[in-house]
Amino acid sequence: MGLISEAKLLSRGRDWRGRSRTPRSAEPWAPKHEPKEFPTAWARTPVTGIVRTAIQRGVLKPVAWSQTRVTVEGREYLDGLRGPAIFIANHSSHLDTPMILGSLPRRFTDRLAVGAAADYFFDARWRAFTTALVFNTFPVERYGSRRLRGLAGRLVDDAWSLLLFPEGTRSQDGWMNPFKVGAAALCISKGIPCVPISLRGTYGAMPRGRNWPRPGRPKVVIRYGRPMRAEAGEGVRDFSFRMMSEVTRLWNEEELGWYEALRASAAGQLSAPTGPKAIGAEETPAIEAAPATGTDIEAAAAGTDVVPAEPEDASRWRRIWESTRPLDDERPRPVWPGR
């Protein structure tokens, strides 16, 4: 064999530096590499706080409020709230966080950290930096990694309030997903209150895939509920279920009004915010820290007001169609006229 053909044979499968890829079966076993944690402590310093407030109040809120018609309800419930709290909301759009930050009183936003998916917001340094600066985000591991566990707790200890989206991800179709129990666990372990928030219309205004609200100033409603505390002896799952029920009630206020929603809630007639079951979609298991047993769920359901009734199945387009329906200004009449 000539030198050239020998060299050709030798270079087969090698790059220009003469390096060969390692055959799969020869790759050494390596422990899964945990990416380094992006430091966010700098984002919680007073100076950054001033910059952030300027951005939020000077740019973010005016822009968001100019692109949507925002209605905020129930903010008065926060009047008596002191100290750190956990704000929880349904999550269907990137608009959610600016809406909440823009509608919360400054005494909360000045000391509010936002839980953001470590695998999404913290995978690229520029994105991590920007979100930490503008929203004061801190990374939350969604998939059971041991890394970062305890960071939220440390923030609460430092008197920071947290904004968490217990669904763990933005909704695919505007409807709610089951809550993960992390937020409830944190409330119970730290003994702090939880403020339920319901966001309506954000999905219609800026669904997944859009990076700017759709034209036409769509209506968005932010509804705050009363701060909730875990009762003595209440379990994490029960409290989490109660949190979800409260968000459900706030969600339903859009259609039913405050009082009707309360009554429907008491009568167990609220429609579930998870929407009709999707046809053809696989049963989505609730992603929770620990698998729930049947008895747990039944026990939790027995003490709550969420209707376990199965809504009619619907195809994916119908689910999206329904969730993007513009919020009607002709709302049911409030109980107290003039409110």
């Binding site: 064999m1 030198l3 020998e6 060299a7 044979l9 030798l10 270079s11 087969r12 499968g13 090698r14 530096r17 003469g18 390096r19 060969s20 890829r21 390692t22 055959p23 799969r24 079966s25 020869a26 050494p28």
Partner: protein, 525 residues
């Protein structure tokens, strides 16, 4: 810690793999899915070899420290492994030299005058003075050669003693001087799992009368493998003989193991896994291969034979053979053993330039058979890497070349015996005795540097298990006429060989390639 061995599964990322073929090598694209058995990386050598030797001699297993065994007026014989170990020859100082110097230092201090050094070459050719000097070192050589540093002569009837028969009726006839000594020290280099232990004395210092009991086609056929002593009929025989001689002479054995650094740094790529070759390795591959092909045959052989391995000692233990050998075996296994899942339909072996019987010599076709179908095929525990009835594909050019001084009986064996039959049992029955007792071969063995007349038969028996097990044997790149004489088929390329193997193993066979050297012991589950 060095990396353990493993089984590679050839995928699209796998670069062409190196296969030895005599005094050369080639790159070969094995079919996707083929398994390639790689031995562990070389173990780190002992940091202070001299201290390790001293420690072994002063803290032996199952015996008193060596100084306590030595006394003035005693008769001391020191036997050591001959030129067949290690392979390739190691860079100096040789392990034997280092150990002998320590042992002789102790003997000198104790005032032992009657010391005899014997190369345990059994029926191998005698070592030349320069080879002896290389093995034992200048100082020992100067002090003992030629009167007291000698080759074992199995045909010197006056200096052989018949110790009796084992319970299986096996004659035990060994070197008289060694058997009549007050202490026999054996210096061993344990390269393969078959060496050492009971084999050292009962084979190394034996004669034909003894060797014929375990070096025959029947025993070899039932040694599965001869590198797995508990399953080797040959080793069972060694054990019986060792038990018998234990009653006659006190044996203090010193066993060593080496790592797998078989090639010097200039040919370092031969020691590396192909996908880890850097530019330097690739350049050396091209340069060495090209230069190697351009060299005339004699020069090429000389170059290969002068590649001295930078072996490092990984362990040394001394004392009673039965207690020392398991420790050595553990080290050897640590260096060579690789677990392999299941047998393949086709086994691929690259036969290298060296085997135990062609050091400073020519690897003739019979030695190629003994190396490929004997040593390499038998580098397994439990089961061969090829299934019963499978195909063995071997790489070697197999030229019809013999060393007239070293292998005279091989020439006659090839020309006369193999022309008639290649069946080990048949040629054993018909021709072995004639070759073993031929006066001319005996004369050459004793006075020249020839292997004993019976030695080519042993080489053929060595392959009898593989011949019995394999359904077909194909040599890639071999001389057609020579291979045909041996009863093997030839192919020009691997593709042709696989095509030929179709008749035996079908069109989609499983293929296992035992990537050696360095020595790799497949533990097939």
């Amino acid at each position: 810690m060095s990396r353990p061995g493993f089984v590679l599964e050839v995928d699209e990322r796998t670069p062409p793999l190196l296969i030895h073929q005599g005094e050369g090598f080639r790159l070969e694209n094995l079919p996707l899915g083929s398994k390639v058995i790689y031995g562990p990386d070389p173990l780190p050598g002992l940091r202070d070899v001299n201290a390790a030797i001293r420690h072994a001699l002063l803290h032996p297993h199952g015996m008193e420290p060596l100084p306590e065994l030595l006394r003035p007026g005693m008769k001391l014989t020191i036997a050591f492994d001959d030129i067949s170990l290690p392979l390739p020859q190691m860079q100096t100082p040789d392990i034997r030299q280092r150990i002998l110097e320590h042992v002789l230092e102790l003997a000198a201090r104790k005032g032992v005058n009657d010391v005899e050094l014997v190369a345990a070459n059994a029926l191998h050719r005698r070592m030349t003075p320069s080879e002896l000097k290389r093995a034992v070192g200048e100082r020992v050589f100067r002090a003992f050669f030629p009167e007291h540093l000698r080759n074992h002569d199995a045909e010197d009837k006056d200096n052989m003693v018949h110790l009796g028969k084992t319970d299986h009726g096996e004659d035990v006839e060994l070197n008289k001087r060694a058997m009549e000594s007050d202490l026999l020290i054996y210096v061993n280099i344990n390269l393969t799992p078959m060496s050492g232990g009971p084999k050292s004395v009962s084979v190394g210092l034996a004669g034909y009368n003894s060797l014929r009991h375990h070096h025959n086609s029947h025993v070899l056929k039932h040694s599965r493998s001869f590198n797995d002593p508990p399953n080797s009929a040959m080793h069972h025989s060694y054990n019986r003989m060792a038990d018998l001689l234990g009653g006659h002479v006190k044996v203090f054995t010193i066993e060593t193991s080496v790592n797998s650094e078989s090639f010097p740094s200039a040919m370092g790529f031969l020691n590396k896994r192909e996908w880890e070759w850097n530019l330097k390795d690739q350049a050396s591959y091209l340069a060495v291969k090209r230069a190697n092909e351009m060299l005339p045959t004699k020069m090429r052989r000389k170059v290969w034979q002068s590649q001295y391995a930078p072996y490092k000692m990984t362990g040394i233990n001394a004392g009673a053979p039965s207690e020392v050998h398991p420790l050595t075996m553990a080290k050897v296994h640590e260096q060579q053993r690789v677990e392999v899942n299941g047998q393949a339909d086709i086994g691929v072996f690259g036969v290298p330039f060296i085997c135990p019987y062609n050091v400073n010599s020519i690897m003739n076709p019979i030695l190629v058979t003994s190396m490929g179908l004997g040593y390499q095929f038998n580098m397994y525990l439990n089961k061969p890497i090829v299934r019963q009835g499978g195909v063995g594909i071997f790489y070697h050019p197999m030229p019809n070349e013999f060393h007239p001084v070293h292998h005279p009986s091989y020439i006659d064996f090839f020309e006369e015996v193999l022309a008639e039959t290649t069946d080990p049992a048949q040629l054993e029955a018909k021709y072995e005795k004639q070759f073993a007792t031929d006066e001319w071969y005996i004369h050459l063995y004793r006075n020249s540097y020839a292997y004993h007349g019976v030695h080519p038969f042993y080489m053929w028996y060595w392959a009898s298990h593989a011949m019995d097990h394999l359904g077909d044997v194909i040599f890639v790149g071999a001389d057609r006429k020579t291979a045909a004489r041996l009863g093997f088929r030839t192919a020009t390329t691997l593709g042709d060989a696989l095509e030929m193997a179709k008749h035996t193993v079908g069109s989609s066979p499983e293929i296992s390639y035992l990537h050696m050297p360095p020595l790799t012991l497949a533990d097939v589950r």
